[in-house]
Symmetry: C2
Subunit: 463 residues, 2 copies
């Protein structure tokens, strides 16, 4: 259908002024009187609404006046300026056609609903202001990430979702199977006979595409992944979901500094893109969700990120141990409270913490010369804590092998990964960005369930 | 590391000519003589290679001459023109630093390997010409799709992977569970007690994001999904994978014609983007994989797609029934042989087939006035057959309900979907594009296993 969008009308208002236009959208409210009425229309293309004036000269005047919130209509009329009103213009309708009525029990009424209530109707909540803003920003944020990497020649790689291996030997995983759960085929020793399963072996949902991504970085030099990732962790927090999206760039011929430069450039690029392309939505968040949001994001775009080693960070935090539930000491993993203290109180901007003890980091991270720490980096941002985690990878065959032996990882499970150290190994680095955390950071939304269209958490898999 | 890419050198050769540059990459071949030698270097950023000349004045001259294919090196030298050689320029090296040697058993040697052989090493095959070309085009193709939809204001929606419902009542699905396969908790009646599973119910991997996508189209008007999709079908063909990526746009206030216009514009946009941004790769496919590829794609970009109803198509095909393994008749589902005959022999270009019998299409497709056919469309392209399948959706509550009743679908499983017809229903349409089929179409590659980085098929889940 040839419809003019509300976005188009707002962006090119001069072109449409005093012209006939046809728009389609959903009713936010109707106020009818005897001779005429007003409809507030939202068409999903733009954050702002459009006012429609209709008159009793229309055949279906009564029908229109009785429209419920949520009804779909198509309006033909003339766009006219309204210099004395709050809104800049309105449509004087010649025709209002009802595309689809809205039943009286429509659960979204004009009043404000809580986020908790809206979570019970994931199919309708994107029609509200808050979720219009969240999910448009989510879309723009995803595109900005692609744009950033593609402009720099990175190759987008789809790493697999179903996997026969457990990337880091860490993380609880979901099993994927076509076997009959009630009656699985068994081996003679009573274990499940996975040779009869779809893939002929036991398979799970991936927890990271990194190891696969590395194989492509050693071919294309710079690559990134952007896809779903899974954790079967029984944790019911505002920051964890069982299914989430992750971005994992990986670069050959790149050390830890290159890695941090890339992460910083990417975050700044994405923030700038969203501020430029969703100003209405970002103003909404700043006014109604998180008062300091715009100041904070603008500050980040214009400041250099801080850098501190883990060892220095521990020294700084130890002086404030009285403020923490968990006391810090060299060797401990940083909790969110520590991360936030570093970035919010000490640095007052995003900060990279580097060179963590090898014991608290993954086996593939490059061992530093001190023999104790690895070339890891976490990027901490105010309001969130860790948003990015990455490292330079161990590129030396023998060192990687001995670290894997120490941790009891089986060489045969990682043959392909060891091959990368055997055939043209390069210093290389990469990181992971949790996409939902990024969206939370950009919008100020406090619960991961409110930035994923259909969230999956413990005991929750609706729609 | 500050390295100049081979792409940068080719694209801006004047700027670098007779200048010192540092490049890094992997050795494709070394030819050494007593006093000097040549290295063919590939750095993963560009399809073409770069020639390096090195001399016995270097300390590590012997080491360099012995480098195996696949070794990683960093070269400092001067870019000089070579007017009498095949290649346009070369680097006169001052320094060749070995970043990582390549063991003697490196499986990729200079000779040509079969695609079947390369499938046995998915972690190394992206280093070959064919897979460099395939996976760069795949990346560009993905980006072109995002760019197309984002430029038109579509909202990118991440529909869920793990789902509690079976979208179309069709398709064999993978089960997702954290229960102990050997010892699942049971109900009193002996069935598996899924209330103890991670999500508190039985869950599967999605076969389509469409129904979820529709909920967002009714809020944002125009949306698209781009994510992984799964089929547990035991089919071992060159066109089927258990895990693949799919694009599913969905538009409110859009009928079947709008839907076809969108699909045609998208395909043309993507072809144009790839031809413009990967000319070297596309020439390679045209020369070595599929001789008529460029002619065919250029023809598609410059022609209007054909349109034919299913009923007309059956009439055309019936005249040629002697050519088919499966004879056609009104009511039959079209096989690939029929689809290809239509697009390759009859129309000689992409063609939309519309208005299929309702019996062979999904429950949610809009019933036409004849009561027998639905407003479906499949887009068929030469060399592939069906590449896109879509429809206008049934937007009438009662008609949808009665079709679901006919098919025995339970209303309670689709309450959210019925709600869309109850609260501001709009005429709306969408389609699904199998991303791998699109890449096959663009590259001329004949096996889906060769256009997915890590393919998942029956009995195959490597890496």
């Amino acid at each position: 259908m040839k419809l003019t969008t509300v976005r188009e009308i707002y962006k090119n208002r001069e072109q449409y002024m005093n012209q006939e236009v046809t728009v389609g959208g959903w009713v936010r409210s109707v106020r009818g009187s005897k001779a005429f009425g007003f409809i507030v229309l939202h068409d999903g293309t733009y954050f702002e609404t459009l006012q429609i004036v209709y008159h009793d000269t229309m055949e279906n005047f009564a029908e229109i006046s009785k429209l419920n919130v949520g009804a779909a209509i198509i309006v033909k009329g003339t766009l006219v300026p309204t210099p004395e009103a709050k809104q800049p213009f309105e449509i004087q309708a010649e025709e209002v056609q009802v595309e689809g009525a809205s039943a009286p029990d429509y659960p979204l009424q004009k009043k404000r609903h809580t986020l908790e209530y809206l979570r019970t109707m994931t199919h309708l909540r994107p029609r509200t202001n808050t979720f219009q803003a969240v999910f448009r920003v989510r879309s723009l944020c995803a595109y900005a990430i692609h744009k950033f990497f593609q402009e720099r020649g990175f190759v987008y790689v789809h790493t697999p979702l179903i996997t026969g291996s457990d990337c880091e030997g860490a993380g609880e995983m979901f099993q994927v199977t076509t076997l009959d759960m009630k009656n699985p085929p068994l081996n003679e020793d009573g274990t499940v006979d996975y040779s009869k399963d779809f893939f002929g072996k036991e398979t799970n949902l991936t927890v990271s595409g990194q190891l696969n991504g590395e194989t492509y970085a050693q071919a294309f030099r710079n690559i990134y992944t952007f896809g779903p990732t899974f954790r079967a962790e029984n944790s019911n927090t505002t920051r964890h979901a069982a299914e989430f999206w992750m971005i994992e760039p990986e670069c050959a011929f790149a050390d830890l500094n290159d890695n941090m430069d890339l992460a910083e450039a990417m975050l700044k690029y994405v923030i700038r893109y969203v501020l430029e392309n969703a100003p209405e939505e970002m103003n909404f968040f700043n006014s109604f969700i998180d008062k300091g949001l715009l100041d904070r994001l603008n500050h980040v775009v214009n400041s250099e990120f801080g850098h501190v080693t883990y060892t220095e960070a521990i020294e700084l935090l130890e002086k404030n141990n009285d403020k923490f539930d968990y006391k810090v000491f060299w060797g401990c993993d940083l909790q969110t409270e520590h991360e936030r203290y570093l970035t919010e109180q000490i640095f007052k901007k995003p900060v990279f913490v580097t060179d963590y003890p090898k014991e608290i980091k993954a086996f593939y991270m490059k061992l530093n010369d001190d023999g104790k720490t690895v070339a890891a980096m976490d990027c901490l941002v105010p309001g969130i804590g860790e948003i990015i985690g990455g490292s330079q990878r161990e590129d030396d065959y023998e060192k990687l092998k001995s670290r894997m032996d120490e941790l009891g990882l089986k060489a045969e499970d990682y043959q392909f990964y060891m091959d990368l150290r055997k055939y043209g190994s390069t210093r290389h680095s990469g990181y992971g960005l949790g996409f939902e955390r990024c969206v939370m950071y950009l919008t100020g939304m406090g619960n991961i369930r409110d930035v994923i269209p259909f969230p999956r958490t413990v005991n929750n898999c609706d729609l």
